[in-house]
């Protein structure tokens, strides 16, 4: 990953909508290069929509996204996105190697075939996620965590300036989580900007230097200490949140819960996940 200008991402008064239904209104924030940013908020807060807009899947209704100060769309390949699992056809006849090589397609263009250098990059990215032994395996035969790692390797093969990951920690094994975390450290050293949406507020405050709190608009953006205050969390999650002594946060945002979630004081840094 050389010769790349790390990304400075500038979101300026952006509103997003599906048809007439607005999902995110008038959001402005800036992400300096090399930031590790956690995007948090309740279900339906607009986290995935924001990511979709950043890769061009969802048109921006108003406002502007700038990368390196240049309006969005001028860049071909500097944003990589790791999709949620449901967005991929797992029965498709492609091997792990094929999938990671797709990360090079942006650089190759439509007609050029992969050369030695592309193959080396792909092999290195597979090693980085610990999947080099699976290169020839069909993608559909892997476990969920392994598939997630293959898509991470593909994103790395894109050599992006900005890496977006939508819920990478949902439903994956501990080993995959560890690999993702150690890769985040590597990427920060390479000054790649990483944005991750997550439901795990504890992890967001421990392992990220910036947090973006959304609930259909921007509630707060800054360091975890700045963002995770009782006031902002109450604003984002309503009643379903609890601040523990020491600053840890518990939130339950599963489909309307009858009462406030019960705190477990012994595990100050744990949070209640959305799942199950």
């Amino acid at each position: 990953m050389t010769s790349q200008l790390p990304a400075h991402l500038d979101i300026d008064r952006v509103s997003l909508a599906y048809g007439s239904r607005e999902v995110l209104s008038d959001v402005s924030f800036q992400v300096p290069e090399g930031t590790r940013l956690a995007v948090v908020g309740p279900n339906g807060a607009g986290k995935s929509s924001l990511f979709k807009a950043l890769v061009g899947l969802l048109p921006v209704r108003s406002g502007e996204i700038r990368i390196h100060g240049v309006p969005f769309g001028a860049h071909r390949d500097c944003v990589a996105y790791i999709p949620q699992r449901e967005e991929v056809d797992w029965r498709f006849p492609v091997t792990v190697l094929d999938v990671v090589m797709m990360g090079r397609y942006g650089r190759l263009g439509w007609l050029r075939r992969p050369n030695q250098q592309d193959r080396q990059v792909v092999a290195r990215c597979l090693r980085q996620v610990g999947m080099d032994d699976y290169a020839r395996r069909p993608i559909g035969e892997l476990s969920g965590g392994q598939q997630q790692r293959v898509f991470l390797a593909r994103a790395l093969a894109q050599e992006p300036h900005i890496l977006l990951m939508d819920e990478p920690f949902t439903g994956v094994d501990a080993m995959t989580q560890e690999i993702v975390h150690s890769l985040l450290d590597d990427l920060q050293r390479l000054r790649v900007t990483v944005m991750i949406s997550t439901h795990d507020l504890g992890m967001a405050s421990r392992r990220f230097n910036q947090v973006l709190l959304l609930n259909r608009r921007l509630i707060a953006c800054g360091t975890p200490a700045e963002v995770f205050t009782p006031q902002t969390l109450g604003e984002a999650f309503g009643g379903q949140v609890m601040i523990l002594p020491g600053g840890a946060v518990l939130a339950d945002e599963c489909c309307p819960p009858p009462e406030i979630d019960v705190a477990v004081p012994s595990s100050l840094e744990s949070t209640v996940d959305r799942e199950r």
């Binding site: 061009g56 006849p93 492609v94 091997t95």
Partner: protein, 270 residues
């Protein structure tokens, strides 16, 4: 017979390769609809004494655009739109053809193919159009793979997904038109889907799937044509039945994915 053999082999290979995308993208019903939708085009070309293939191609494209237009608003689902338009086009074609009594034989030929009536000009046209379709699929392997496998990546890479999808529809329409002569509109969907489905069971990568499907398509065309010749049965139907037989073999015995294989593996677990 020789011309027929050459034509049906070319069509078998072409249909099988294009059919891999039809299988993987779930476009089988659309392919069938396009095949039936060309009937009015062929009929009108007859009436005005024009080129049948051009008439067929125009009609196929019109049906494809029509389906896109009706289902665009989202109030009508795509498969409903396909069902409406393909039956309507087919009926319009039958009405047009039945209005001219002497063309009754030609209707059967259009529906089920007439591989023995292939002329040298047909052969050249098949080779040129088929070659163009295969070359396009070969050159655009990467973009087609990405839009089929992962639409999100296609957007990230700024691929013109909408235009590529239309291009794929055009390639499909061309393939169907070229196949008219050998298998007819009634059976072209089988030639598109069956070899690809069999190959999918046998191999694990798209290029291999296309190659295996092409071999199956060619083999069923040759075997089917010989069978039809010696048993004196309809050639298009014979070709499709051979392809179906090969698919059944793959379905039962394919390593890993075949029914027997899975039964055995399941049994050994206990």
């Amino acid at each position: 017979m020789q011309r027929g053999l050459l034509a049906s082999t070319m069509v078998g290979v072409l249909c099988a390769v294009v059919g891999c995308y039809v299988v993987l993208r779930g476009m089988a019903f659309l392919g069938d609809a396009l095949a039936h939708g060309i009937l009015p085009g062929v009929a009108i070309a007859y009436l005005v004494d024009g080129n049948l293939m051009i008439g067929a191609l125009a009609a196929a494209l019109a049906v494809a655009v029509g389906i896109g237009f009706v289902s665009r608003q989202g109030t009508i689902k795509e498969d409903t739109a396909i069902g409406i338009l393909f039956a309507a086009a087919m009926s319009l074609g039958v009405v047009l053809i039945s209005s001219i009594r002497s063309y009754a034989v030609d209707l059967t030929h259009i529906l089920f193919g007439n591989v023995l009536g292939v002329s040298d000009a047909d052969l050249v046209l098949t080779a040129v159009l088929g070659g163009a379709v295969l070359l396009t699929i070969f050159l655009l392997y990467k973009p087609f793979l990405v839009i089929s496998f992962d639409a999100v990546l296609a957007a990230t890479l700024r691929l013109p997904a909408e235009r590529l999808r239309y291009l794929m529809l055009i390639l499909l329409a061309l393939t169907i038109v070229v196949s008219l002569q050998t298998v007819g509109v009634g059976l072209v969907a089988a030639m598109l889907v069956t070899p690809g489905a069999a190959a999918y069971l046998l191999v694990r990568r798209l290029p291999a799937m296309m190659a295996v499907a092409a071999v199956i398509g060619a083999a069923s065309s040759v075997a089917g044509l010989f069978l039809s010749y010696y048993l004196n049965v309809a050639s298009g139907a014979a070709i499709v039945l051979v392809a179906t037989f090969i698919f059944l073999l793959a379905f039962l015995f394919a390593p890993g994915r075949g029914v027997i294989w899975q039964r055995l593996r399941h049994g050994s677990d206990h």
